[in-house]
Symmetry: C2
C-alpha cells in the first residue's frame, strides 16, 4: 500500500460516516419523533466526535507529507485534503468546543429574540459568536488573509474578500437601475384559485422528475425549511406547502438543482473529497439556474401555465404572458428568502458588507441594527418596520455562518455565466422548455459542471464549463433582457 | 477521573453510535430509496468498523482491570462490559470478516433458494456458515462450554444447552397432549368482512397506545417484516397490512412489547450496557405477553370484538366467544411465524435440536432437509410439501443466527411465569382488559421487569419479578386452561 492508497482508504470510511450524518439530519427534520430531539443531539455529537478524531488523526498529516499523487484526480484529492487538514488542525480544540456550544445555544436565542422582536436579547450572543468566529478565522487564515476572508474561503475556496467586494460593486449600479425602471412599470398579476396540498405535491413531484430528479435514489418529503441532503446514491430533498403554490414548486426545483449536482458526480469520485459539490457558490449556481434561469423562464412558464390550469382549474390568470409575469413578480420586500431575482443580490450585498464589518471589528454588535436599517432604507427605499423584517430575519449569524451569504450571490453570477454559455450551445432550448422538457439544459449542466464534482477549483469549474472567466456581465444581461421583455421596459 | 468513570464516558459514546445503527436500520427498512441499498451497506460497514475498533480498544481492557465498581449498578455494568470485551477480543479479526462476508451473501442465497424451492442451492452456503459460526463459538467458549452453548449465551447470558434441552423435554409431552385434544375439538370460525388498510392502521395505532406505546418518542410505519428499533427516547416500530386484520394488529402489539421494554428502562441506564433489554429471551417475554397472554386473552377479545365491529361493520363472527376462538385459532401448519400459541414452541424445539446437531457436527448439512422433514412429520403429523414450507422457511440460519431460536420459546416460558405472578397480584385484571385497558398489566411489567433493563441476569430478572425461579409450569398451565376453556375440552 502506498501512502496515497492508505490515505484514500481511510478517507473513504470518513466520507461514508459523513453520509451517515446526512441521514440523521434528514431524519431529524422530517420523521423524527419530537421527544427524541435531545437524544438526537447526543447521537450527532458522538458521531461528530468520531469525525473530528479522524480529521485530525496524525496519520493523515503523515500520509499527506508522503503522498506522491499521480494524475489530476489524485492531485485534486490531495489539494482538498491538505486544505481540510490545515483547517482542522489549526483550530484549537477549546475554541472548537466553545464555538459548538455558542452556536448551538445561538439558534435558540435568535429564534426567541425574533419571536419577541427583541434585538437587545440577541446582541450578547451575536457579539460572542462574532468574537469566536473571528478567532477561528485568524487561526485558519493563511498569510495575508483577513479573518473574514479565511471564513469566506471555507465555503468558497479561492475566493477573496476584495474580489467579491469588487464583483458586488460592479453589479450594484445596474441592478439598482433595473429595479428603479421596474418600479415604474405596471404591477404583475397574482394567482387566485384553489391549490390543495395533493395537487401542489403531485405537480412538484412531476416537475422534479422533469428536471432530472432520480426517485430511485431519492425521496421528496415535507419539512419546515426545504433542503437537499446526501450524496451519490442517496440524495433526498424536501419541500413545503403553503397557500402560494409557487412556494412549493420553486422550492422543489431549487432543491432538485442541489440534489442532481450531488447525484450526478462521477461515481468513481463517491466517498472521496471530489464526491461533493466543490463550493457553496457552485452549488447555488445549480439550484439557482434550475429555479430561475430555467424554471422561471418565460418558455417554461408557458408550459407550466397549461399544467397548472389542468391540475387546479381556473388560477386567476388569463394567459401565459400574464402567468409569466406572476411567476416573475418584482417587489422590494423586507425578506431575502422571498425576494425576486432582481432584488435578491441587493439583500446579499447588504449582509456581506455588514458581516465584514462585524468580523473585522469595524461595526460593533450594538450598532448593527442601525447599520442594517440605514443600509436597507438606502438600497430598498423602505424603512424596516420591525426586527423580524430586518436584522433578525435570517438564522445564519446565530449559527456562526459568516462568509456564507456572499456565496448565494456568487451562485447567481455563476448561474448567469453557465446559462449564457448553455444558450449559445442550445439555440433551441426554449422550444424544449415550452414543451415541458428542461432535459437539454439539465443534461448540459450535468455534462459540463455536475459530473466533475470537486475536480477543479470553483472558478475553474465555471470557466471550464463556459470557456470564459466568470464575471457579472451575463447575469446582468439576462436580468435586463428577461425583466425588460416581461415588463415592456 | 477514575478508571470506572473514564470507561463509562467512552462506553456512552459507543452506545450512542449503536443508536445511530438503529436509525440507519430503521431507515433502510422503511423509507430508504431502493437504489441506495448498496451505499447503505457501505455506510453500515464503516460504522461497524468504528464500533469494532471501540469495542476492542485496548484501553477498555485496562479500564476493566483497574475498575473498582461500587454498588450493584456499577457492578452490573462491569459484568456486561467484561463479557463483551472477552467475546469481542477472542474472535480473530479474519474470522469476523469472513463471517460478515458469508452471512451478507447468505441471506441472498437463501432468498433465491427459497424462491426456487432449491435446497441444494442453499446447502454449500449453510455448510460454510455453520463451520464459521462453530469456529466462532469455539473461540468465545469459556471452559467446558460447547460451541453451540457459547453461541446461545451470546443471546441469552447464563443459559446452558443442557438446561434448555431439559426445559424443552419437560414441555413437549404436555404441549403434544394439548394439541392432540384440540385437534378433536370443533374448528374455530374465521373472520369474513372488509378490512381496508386505513381501518387496520388506525385500530393498530389506538391499540398500540392502549398498550402504552409512546408516540412522542416513537413512530409506527410499514415494513415487509415488522420490527422494533432503538432505545431510550427514540423507539420506533413497524407493522404490515394484509387481508387478515389480525396480522397487522397482533404484529403491532408484539412490537409494542419490545418497544416499551426499551423505552421504559430507567433513564439513568440510557447509553450504558444496562440501557437495553437484558436478553433475547426476556425481550421476547415482553412481546409475547403483550401479544398473547394479554392481547389474545378472552377478556381483551371481548373488548376487541366491539371495536372491530365498530370500525369494520360485520366481520363475519356472531359473538365475542366465537371471536375469541377466531383470535385463538389452532392449526398445525408448516410455518413457524403463523403458528398459534400451542404449536409455536414445537416449531422452536425442532429448530433447536437440528441446529445443535449442525453446530456440533452430529448432523451434516446434506442431511438437514431429511432430518427436518422426518421430525416435522413426527411432531406435527404432516409431511412437508415443499422446502419453503420446511427447511427454507426461516431466514435465521442464512444469517448465522444459531442459538437464537430457543430464545423465542424461553420468551414464552418467561411470559408464562410473569403473567401468572401478575394475575396473582391483579385479580381484577380481566375487568380492565374487557374495558379495553391493558394498563394494569403493562404497568406491572414496566414496574417489575422493564425499568430494570440489564441490571440483573436474565433468569434473575424473571425471578425478581415473580418471586420464583422460572420454569415451564405456568406457561403450560395457562395454555391448558385458556385453550381448554375456549374449546370446551
Amino acid at each position: 500500500m502506498t501512502a496515497m492508497s492508505e490515505m484514500m482508504a481511510f478517507v473513504r470510511e470518513t466520507e461514508l460516516l459523513v453520509q451517515i450524518q446526512s441521514r440523521l439530519a434528514w431524519d431529524q427534520d422530517t420523521v423524527m419523533p419530537r421527544g427524541a430531539a435531545e437524544q438526537r443531539g447526543e447521537e450527532m455529537a458522538a458521531l461528530a466526535g468520531v469525525l473530528h478524531a479522524r480529521r485530525t488523526d496524525p496519520r493523515l498529516g503523515g500520509w499527506l507529507d508522503a503522498a506522491r499523487p499521480e494524475g489530476e484526480v489524485e492531485a485534486a484529492n490531495v489539494r482538498h485534503l491538505k486544505r481540510r487538514w490545515l483547517r482542522d488542525t489549526r483550530v484549537p480544540a477549546e475554541l472548537a468546543a466553545e464555538l459548538a456550544r455558542a452556536t448551538s445555544i445561538g439558534r435558540g436565542v435568535w429564534a426567541e429574540a425574533r419571536e419577541n422582536e427583541d434585538v437587545a436579547a440577541f446582541l450578547p450572543t451575536l457579539s460572542r459568536i462574532v468574537k469566536l468566529r473571528r478567532e477561528e478565522g485568524e487561526a485558519i487564515a493563511d498569510g495575508g488573509t483577513t479573518a473574514y476572508e479565511a471564513l469566506l474561503r471555507d465555503y468558497e475556496p479561492g475566493a477573496t474578500e476584495a474580489g467579491v467586494a469588487k464583483l458586488f460593486d460592479g453589479m450594484r449600479p445596474r441592478i439598482v437601475a433595473l429595479r428603479d425602471r421596474l418600479l415604474g412599470a405596471p404591477g404583475a398579476p397574482t394567482l387566485n384559485g384553489n391549490f390543495p396540498e395533493a395537487g401542489q405535491l403531485s405537480l412538484s413531484r412531476e416537475t422534479a422528475e422533469r428536471f432530472g430528479y432520480d426517485l430511485n435514489h431519492g425521496r421528496i418529503d415535507l419539512s419546515a425549511h426545504p433542503f437537499s441532503s446526501g450524496s451519490a446514491f442517496d440524495v433526498r430533498i424536501t419541500t413545503r406547502v403553503s397557500e402560494d403554490p409557487f412556494n412549493c414548486l420553486y422550492s422543489t426545483i431549487h432543491e432538485v438543482g442541489h440534489a442532481t449536482y450531488e447525484r450526478n458526480i462521477r461515481p468513481d469520485f463517491a466517498f472521496t473529497p471530489l464526491g461533493e459539490g466543490v463550493s457553496m457558490g457552485v452549488h447555488e449556481s445549480q439550484s439557482r439556474s434550475f429555479e430561475n434561469q430555467i424554471g422561471r423562464s418565460p418558455a417554461f412558464c408557458r408550459f407550466l401555465f397549461g399544467r397548472m390550469t389542468d391540475i387546479f382549474g381556473d388560477i386567476g390568470v388569463s394567459d401565459a404572458d400574464a402567468f409569466s409575469r406572476a411567476v416573475n413578480r418584482v417587489s422590494s420586500g423586507f425578506i431575502r428568502t422571498e425576494a425576486d431575482e432582481v432584488h435578491y443580490n441587493l439583500h446579499v450585498m447588504l449582509r456581506f458588507d455588514l458581516e465584514r464589518g462585524l468580523v473585522s471589528g469595524g461595526i460593533a454588535a450594538e450598532d448593527i441594527e442601525e447599520a442594517w436599517n440605514s443600509r436597507f432604507a438606502a438600497d430598498f427605499g423602505n424603512a424596516v418596520d420591525r426586527p423580524s423584517n430586518g436584522l433578525l430575519q435570517d438564522v445564519h449569524w446565530s449559527e456562526g455562518l459568516f462568509g456564507y451569504f456572499p456565496t448565494y450571490a456568487l451562485g447567481n453570477v455563476y448561474a448567469g455565466c453557465l446559462v449564457a454559455a448553455m444558450r449559445r450551445e442550445l439555440p433551441d432550448l426554449d422550444s424544449s422548455l415550452e414543451a415541458g422538457d428542461p432535459s437539454p439544459a439539465t443534461e448540459w449542466l450535468k455534462r459540463n459542471v455536475q459530473i466533475h464534482g470537486g475536480l477543479r477549483e470553483p472558478g475553474d469549474t465555471i470557466s471550464h464549463a463556459t470557456g470564459e472567466d466568470p464575471g457579472e456581465g451575463p447575469l446582468l444581461d439576462y436580468l435586463d433582457e428577461k425583466f425588460g421583455a416581461l415588463y415592456g421596459l
